[in-house]
């Protein structure tokens, strides 16, 4: 009996683990859903506590039939093992105790003697009375209930069968549709699955819902809006057999369909209109939002919908929409907080992509494996970073700077007019370039360099020059060219012996401002800057010269830096993805004088940039993509230091000269003093030609024209809407398995990540050159176990009380089992077979008898199946935050159904955005009809979401979310009764009615009731409302000032010529109807 032999060892093992073990409470056991079927089957008087008895009294009738079924490992045993044992005996190697794991078949069965519990270590351990023996150990705060132990015993007795976790099983190629007794009820296969289950429990479905109720339900579910009275009337009068299909066809073709169906995807994709952290500035991501709505309306197949979002940029000849779709992976939050560390945040963003991908598409909690192997599911730490490797390969930066600079990589989305100006500017630039090229070709025969170039004096005059010989007033530096534009240094920088005479020695914290020299060192300006620098031994990453704006964390503008010991010269709109940059080939020399020239020919690309180090041209191109002006603002250019950057500490600069055109190599040698040793014959032909061009008047005119064209193009592009997208870098960036998820953990060859499929899932077909496109194709393969199951479950939850798998974000072993596993598989298979057709899916669902059931249920049913898991009645649910507001606007006739475009800003009390955040822009409430746009277009600011939507349980959109709760709180009552949005809508409803029907109050009330609830009021309801109207009319008649006040709420003008007390009284009645369950619930 090795069980006992090993006991001491195991105990020791347990002790070691005690500190690490996450402790939880014993009463958790109660909260873990004990499958009622199981519980009932095991119910024996000796086991049953009083509490259990009363529970069973309720559920017994439901499950009576199933009492004799064998234990199902998958559904009944695995959840117990996972929840109570895997923490120490599961997939995570790091916390595994006694080298024992129960998540793998063979390892588990090693500890089980089939048919013989008393010889099975597992049973011995869980049933032991000895605290040192018993599992789970007391200090884990975990325990097994008697019922659970009994289940495990029975499972062993029955032979200890084993199977894989359901969601990782391949999706069956076909799923058999069950036979049912009542063959009349099912309208389609969905119903056969539902009914089969009900019949097995001797249950019957609820009667069909009244027609109005189905209409209201389906109209909300497919469009997010209530049916209009006309639509209700038309449907009630359409007695044709196709009446239902006609409605569904109408709704599916409505542009409102995409707006409604997009919402749950926006929650999953964490779509918002702001960056999220700290100052939480607005981000222009709405073009992606509009694409999603468009794609759903056009019924883009779901596999394409995913493929475009994951890898649209990698599709052959990708369209603008396909690239735009990839914004999906750029919707994570971003920071611009000062002092942030770029790599740390970069790592966060990629991790967010992995988490969102794992949750929204695979329905697995991948994020648990960021720091260690997953505790419950077969997802390893390595798996996590293998996925990470697909998403880290874009040219991005770990911070954003401000709302005007879009994080790269990005896509320009010009409107027609902008497209025309951009094309025109491009053609102009091409022409200007050709003119230069042609002229250069015509000059190519020049073989001699003018004699003056051989002089030690330059023939070109600088536009600014500083020799750093003396300081005036301890801070002013003489500009030898323009005396009225001196330089200025911080007082701590000092003059020391330089290359010639004095130079300026820098502290690294105090800068030297070169002042407003004519040339701003912009990408469209031709220039050269020459200087001598002396670099101390210990400097490798510092700023030497820059012209950048108020950058705190992002870097943009013109920079000359030392980066990892090499000189780097860049001009950028947003580093690194929207920039021109070159780098020296060799490391800079330390402790010696080095001559540096940076120059720009303003060609619009990196080939115009030049870097000379000690007269040698070193132009290794790093970045060559600039679409917009840097727009640095600020004060000209600066030496030696920059806010929050490492400065040129103890470095010396001397003999700074600025020129308004690039210098030739020959001229550079003049500046370095090596030209004197040149003899005509030693000047290379290319240097000769270059020099001849640069001193040629015509060439300079043509180059200036090209520079101007370059500026025109940048100007034309700068105002164009830009959105962050995915664009694969040429060279694949390596990803590493990061210990404990830390950005700064070691990166070595031994912990590299690889672009392969997670180990628990089928491998990619072709393991070569994997990228996001391979990932998308793998996901949307017809055998993938998760993609379609997760998708149909999410779609299903748009219509029913929850998904068939209630934990929509967790299809892992700790998640809920599907209530109808075969139905889920059938839906998933049918979805794929139909070509991932979302509209077809929705149609099938809303026309099913299951969906058409009434939601009314006897009190007993609300107790036995509160969540309607058995689907023995129709769905019922509180309307979403979007639906509630849109219902009020729609009933008032205020709803502005303009689709798309930048977000709008409806009523919000005061300026909530700045109340707690003075770094964020003020809330600019919309005016006019923009106040009444559909709620999906309301601006979503992550750190301060619009309160009336948050109170109705909108997702916060900071991270991926797969489901919303539906709470009932008093604050919701306050919104419905007091928020100007709803008061105004009630008032406008009242006005419309009075205008239409004068004083036929009863009809008005009926009409308002119909618009808000979709049905006629009952007699008692009507009389209560009429009575309320009368009371209120008396009040407002006596208090006309109050009537004036309530009418003044909201921006929509009051219609002239109507009796104000009547409007006020009817407004109050409309508010009462709006507050009714009948209005804000979908039943």
């Amino acid at each position: 009996m090795d069980v006992f032999v090993n006991r001491h060892e195991r105990k020791a093992g347990r002790k070691v683990g005690r500190n690490k073990r996450s402790a939880v409470t014993a009463n958790d056991a109660k909260r873990v859903s004990v499958d009622a079927v199981t519980a009932l089957r095991l119910l024996r008087p000796t086991l049953a506590t009083l509490a259990f008895l009363s529970l069973f009294a309720i559920i017994a009738p439901l499950y009576a039939q199933t009492a004799s079924i064998k234990v199902d490992f998958q559904r009944e045993i695995l959840p117990i093992l996972s929840d109570r044992c895997f923490l120490c005996h599961g997939p995570d190697e790091g916390t595994r105790q006694a080298d024992m794991r129960l998540d793998l078949r063979n390892d588990l069965l090693d500890h089980v003697e089939a048919n013989s519990p008393d010889d099975s270590e597992i049973w011995i351990r869980i049933s032991s009375n000895d605290e040192l023996e018993r599992m789970p150990p007391p200090e884990s705060n975990l325990s097994l209930t008697d019922i659970e132990k009994e289940l495990i015993r029975q499972w062993i007795e029955e032979g200890a069968n084993w199977s894989r976790h359901w969601s990782l099983e391949p999706l069956p190629k076909t799923v058999e549709i069950p036979e049912v007794v009542d063959s009349k009820w099912p309208a389609n296969p969905i119903d056969r699955f539902v009914l089969a289950k009900l019949e097995s429990m001797e249950q019957t479905p609820t009667q069909v819902a009244p027609r109005w109720r189905w209409l209201r339900r389906v109209t909300f579910d497919l469009t997010g809006l209530p049916p209009t009275p006309d639509e209700i009337g038309a449907f009630e009068n359409d007695l044709s057999p196709e009446a239902f299909e006609t409605v569904v066809a109408r709704l599916l073709s409505s542009p409102r369909f995409g707006e409604q169906m997009a919402i749950s995807w926006f929650d999953a994709a964490r779509y918002a209109d702001s960056y999220g952290y700290q100052s939480d500035l607005l981000s222009p991501t709405w073009p992606w939002r509009d694409w999603v709505i468009r794609a759903i309306n056009e019924n883009l197949s779901y596999d394409q919908f995913l493929t475009w979002q994951l890898a649209g940029d990698l599709l052959p000849d990708a369209t603008t929409d396909q690239i735009l779709a990839t914004t999906f992976n750029r919707l994570h939050r971003m920071t611009n907080e000062g002092g942030s560390i770029e790599l740390e945040w970069h790592t966060e963003y990629v991790a967010d992509r992995v988490n969102t991908f794992g949750t929204s598409i695979l329905g697995m909690t991948f994020e648990c494996a960021r720091c260690h192997d997953h505790k419950f599911d077969a997802i390893t730490h390595q798996d996590y970073y293998n996925l990470f490797a697909f998403f880290n390969n874009i040219d991005e930066w770990g911070m954003y700077n401000d709302s005007s600079r879009v994080p790269t990589p990005s896509l320009l989305l010009p409107n027609d007019e902008q497209q025309r100006s951009m094309s025109a500017a491009r053609m102009e630039l091409e022409r200007a370039k050709s003119a230069v090229d042609d002229y250069r070709a015509s000059m190519s025969s020049i073989t001699s360099v003018p004699a003056e170039a051989m002089n030690s004096e330059l023939q070109i005059a600088p536009i600014a020059a500083f020799d750093f010989e003396s300081l005036v007033d301890n801070k002013w530096l003489t500009n030898e060219i323009c005396a009225d534009q001196p330089g200025e240094t911080g007082p701590a920088n000092i003059l020391v012996p330089g290359k010639t005479g004095n130079g300026i020695k820098l502290t690294g914290d105090d800068d030297v401002s070169i002042g407003k020299v004519e040339n701003g060192l912009n990408p469209w300006e031709r220039f050269a800057v020459s200087m001598w620098v002396w670099i101390p031994e210990d400097l490798n990453d510092v700023v030497l010269l820059h012209h950048t704006g108020g950058t705190d964390v992002g870097v943009f503008g013109t920079n000359l830096t030392l980066f990892e010991g090499k000189f780097r010269f860049s001009m950028s709109r947003f580093w690194p993805g929207n920039a021109l940059a070159i780098e020296s080939n060799r490391a800079a020399k330390k402790g010696k004088w080095t001559h540096i020239v940076i120059a720009n020919e303003a060609t619009g690309s990196a080939d115009g940039l030049q870097l000379y180090v000690d007269s040698v041209s070193e132009n290794h191109i790093l970045r060559d993509y600039l679409t917009k002006r840097p727009d640095t603002g600020g004060n000209g250019f600066t030496l030696g230091a920059r806010f929050r950057s490492a400065g040129f500490k103890n470095g010396i600069i001397d003999e700074l000269k600025v020129f308004d055109r690039p210098l030739s190599a020959v001229e550079v040698r003049v500046l370095t003093g090596t030209a004197a040793s040149d003899v005509e014959s030693r000047i290379s032909p290319s240097d000769r030609a270059q020099h001849a061009l640069l001193v040629d008047k015509k060439y300079n005119e043509l180059a200036a024209t090209r520079a101007a064209a370059c500026k025109s193009l940048l100007d034309a592009q700068t105002d164009i809407l830009e959105v962050s997208v995915m664009r694969e870098m040429d060279q694949v960036q390596v990803a590493w398995v990061l210990a404990r998820g830390n950005y700064d953990s070691p990166r070595t060859d031994s912990n590299r990540a690889h672009r392969i499929a997670p180990s628990a899932l089928p491998p990619f077909g072709d393991e070569t050159s994997n990228n996001r496109l391979s990932l998308a194709r793998w996901l949307t393969g017809s055998e993938h176990p998760l993609t379609s199951r997760v998708a149909v479950n999410r779609l299903w939850s748009n219509f029913f009380d929850s998904g068939l798998v209630a934990t929509m974000n967790d299809f892992g072993v700790q998640g809920h089992r599907p209530t109808h596993p075969e139905l889920l598989d059938w839906l998933a298979r049918d979805f794929i077979d139909s070509g991932w057709d979302v509209k077809r899916f929705c149609k099938q669902l809303v026309l099913s008898s299951t969906y058409r059931q009434d939601s009314v249920a006897q009190a007993e049913a609300w107790k036995t199946d509160p969540k309607n898991e058995m689907l023995a009645r129709g769905p019922s649910r509180r309307l979403s935050s979007e639906m509630i507001r849109d219902l009020a606007l729609s009933a008032a006739g205020l709803l502005n159904d303009t689709p798309g475009g930048p977000p709008v800003s409806p009523y919000q009390p005061d300026n909530l955005w700045q109340e707690d955040n003075s770094m964020t822009p003020a809330y600019q409430q919309s005016v006019g009809t923009d106040l009444y746009r559909r709620s999906i277009y309301t601006v979503w600011k992550r750190t301060a979401p619009i309160p009336n939507m948050l109170l109705f349980d909108s997702a916060g959109r900071e991270v991926c979310s797969m489901s919303r709760t539906a709470t009932n709180t008093p604050l919701q009552a306050l919104v419905l009764l007091n928020d100007p949005q709803f008061v105004e809508a009630a008032r406008v409803m009242a006005e419309n009615e009075i205008k239409l029907r004068s004083d036929d109050t009863e009809t008005s009330i009926r009409s308002m009731f119909m618009q808000l609830t979709g049905r006629e009021p009952g007699d008692q309801e009507l009389s209560l409302l009429v009575e309320h109207y009368k009371e209120q009319l008396v009040w407002f008649g006596e208090n006309p000032a109050d009537a004036e006040k309530i009418l003044a709420i909201g921006q929509n003008p009051v219609q002239a010529g109507l009796a104000k007390p009547s409007i006020a009284a009817l407004t109050v009645v409309a508010q009462a109807i709006l507050g009714c369950d009948a209005s804000i619930w979908k039943r």
Partner: protein, 495 residues
């Protein structure tokens, strides 16, 4: 109003167990399960088995000082810094720790002695700066913790970590956990109220800091604001008087009653109760926020600022009024401590706003006999560097973020009053052991010399009778806690 009484009797009479009362309790964070269908239940002991221990405190006021107050200028007296003012922070002190990208690139990191005088107070002999004269007066009621440390170095992640136990968004905050775990003791006010000093500027606050994360949104903090509508949408629209509103609610209640008879969904009954609760809040919130009845002596104690709604002092007074009415958790935020530069000028402005009222709150609760069961916490998300960020001059310095040590204080329920816990090295850079030697505490292992954020959270929960390891919520398949998988109760902080 006759109609009301009939309706309400009708409504409350529905359940022998008193549905209405229970449902009302549930509106704000009562700990009953929230799923529909489980609303109607006999009143049972707390479903979560709470409290785990006899509570030492029932309520909390957390005076959060956002931005990171300088421990070196308020609480942690370091004469060596004044002595070595201007000298570089020695490498052995920093020991390779990361600095933020704000001062990490400075070519020089000169030590900056505090410009403020320190003196010892109380039986603990706690050194306090001259900026905190009123706090000094309550020293014997306070436990100062000088050995706090955290993990984050930027404001947003640090404050999110402090309030929710995780830098990752989407986790419930302390107040939500308490609302979830302990429920409400108050029938007409929320269990968890948030107050923010108005117009302070500086580092932002975020809805997530008082969000309920994956817990039911009933547990999120309810923000009270100064002005006409202390809770968003609380006030009736212009033109609707309270009797008119009452009449509407009565009709609405009757309509929903009819709907319930039709649908039989218990959720409808909950909705009826919820409208009633809203009505009650319309009465109780203005009542609690109206301080006009407070005697002059109150304002002498809290300072004249307390007459001005939205000031920190006014919020401290309001906190006391909320506590008197059994609100479980009052979370104050006061921004403005992020003194990267110009610290000597800026920090007295802050202490002028906060010192008197913070001390007054403790004193006031004490004289009302409420301090014994109310825990008061004062502190920010991290400390500040002993070296100057930016230029050190004769009359100016700034300090960057410093997560490795900082000071907070606690008073009231269950706290070991009149004590000082923990210490830092001579530079105020590292936490130190009993001998003053720098140490590098690890959150995995309990270290009596150091208090990690999770340790503080664990201790706060312990004082409220909660075992932090046993209050959890299952989300994404795992048991989440405020303290993640860490945290140790610090017995030294408890009486």
């Amino acid at each position: 109003m006759k109609a009301l009484s009939i309706n309400r009797r009708h409504f409350f009479g529905q359940s022998a167990a008193g549905l209405g009362a229970i449902a009302l309790g549930q509106m704000f964070g009562d700990s009953q399960p929230s799923s529909p269908g489980q609303i109607i239940q006999p009143l049972v002991p707390n479903e979560l088995g709470l409290p785990h221990f006899p509570p030492r405190a029932k309520r909390v006021v957390y005076l959060f000082q956002s931005g990171g107050p300088s421990h070196l200028d308020l609480f942690d007296y370091k004469p060596l810094l004044n002595k070595q003012n201007g000298e570089q922070l020695p490498d052995h002190v920093r020991a390779g720790q990361r600095l933020t990208a704000m001062s990490g690139n400075q070519s020089s990191i000169p030590l900056a002695g505090s410009h403020f005088k320190f003196q010892q107070y109380g039986k603990s002999g706690m050194w306090l700066s001259e900026l905190l004269p009123k706090t000094a007066e309550i020293a014997d009621d306070v436990c100062f913790v000088r050995s706090m440390y955290t993990e984050a170095i930027n404001h947003d992640p640090a404050i999110t970590f402090f309030q929710t136990g995780s830098q990752i968004a989407g986790r419930p905050c302390l107040g939500s956990w308490l609302s979830y775990g302990l429920g409400s003791e108050c029938q007409n006010l929320p269990a968890f109220v948030v107050l923010v000093t108005a117009n302070q500027g500086d580092q932002p606050l975020y809805a997530r800091l008082w969000g309920s994360g994956f817990l039911d949104s009933r547990h999120q903090g309810v923000r009270f604001r100064s002005g006409k509508s202390p809770v968003l949408y609380l006030a009736n629209p212009d033109g609707i008087c309270q009797s008119g509103r009452r009449a509407t609610l009565d009709k609405l209640s009757a309509l929903n009653r009819l709907q319930f008879e039709r649908e039989l969904d218990p959720e409808i009954e909950s909705r009826i109760a919820q409208f009633e609760m809203a009505y009650q809040m319309q009465m109780s919130v203005p009542e609690v926020t109206d301080v006009s009845g407070e005697p002059d002596s109150t304002f002498e104690m809290y300072g004249e600022d307390a007459r001005q709604p939205g000031t920190f002092a006014a919020n401290c007074l309001l906190a006391r009024r909320l506590i008197e009415r059994d609100v479980r958790f009052v979370q104050l935020y006061h921004q403005g401590w992020d003194q990267h530069d110009g610290l000597p000028g800026a920090i007295p402005v802050q202490t002028k706003k906060t010192d008197q009222a913070s001390a007054a709150l403790v004193r006031d609760l004490k004289q009302r006999g409420l301090l014994d069961e109310t825990l008061v916490i004062w502190g920010g998300e991290f400390g500040r560097t002993p070296y100057s960020q930016g230029k050190l001059t004769a009359d100016n310095y700034g300090r960057d973020h410093h997560p490795r040590c900082f000071t907070i204080w606690m008073a009231g329920g269950g706290i070991r009053a009149g004590t000082v816990h923990g210490q830092t090295d001579d530079y105020g850079y590292n936490i130190a052991d009993e001998k003053g030697q720098p140490i590098s505490p690890e959150k995995l292992v309990y270290n009596p010399n150091a208090v990690h954020v999770h340790d503080l959270q664990a201790t706060i929960m312990r004082l409220l009778g909660i075992d932090h390891e046993r209050l959890f919520f299952k989300f994404q398949g795992r048991r989440h806690r405020l303290t993640d998988v860490h945290g140790h109760v610090v017995p030294e902080l408890m009486a």
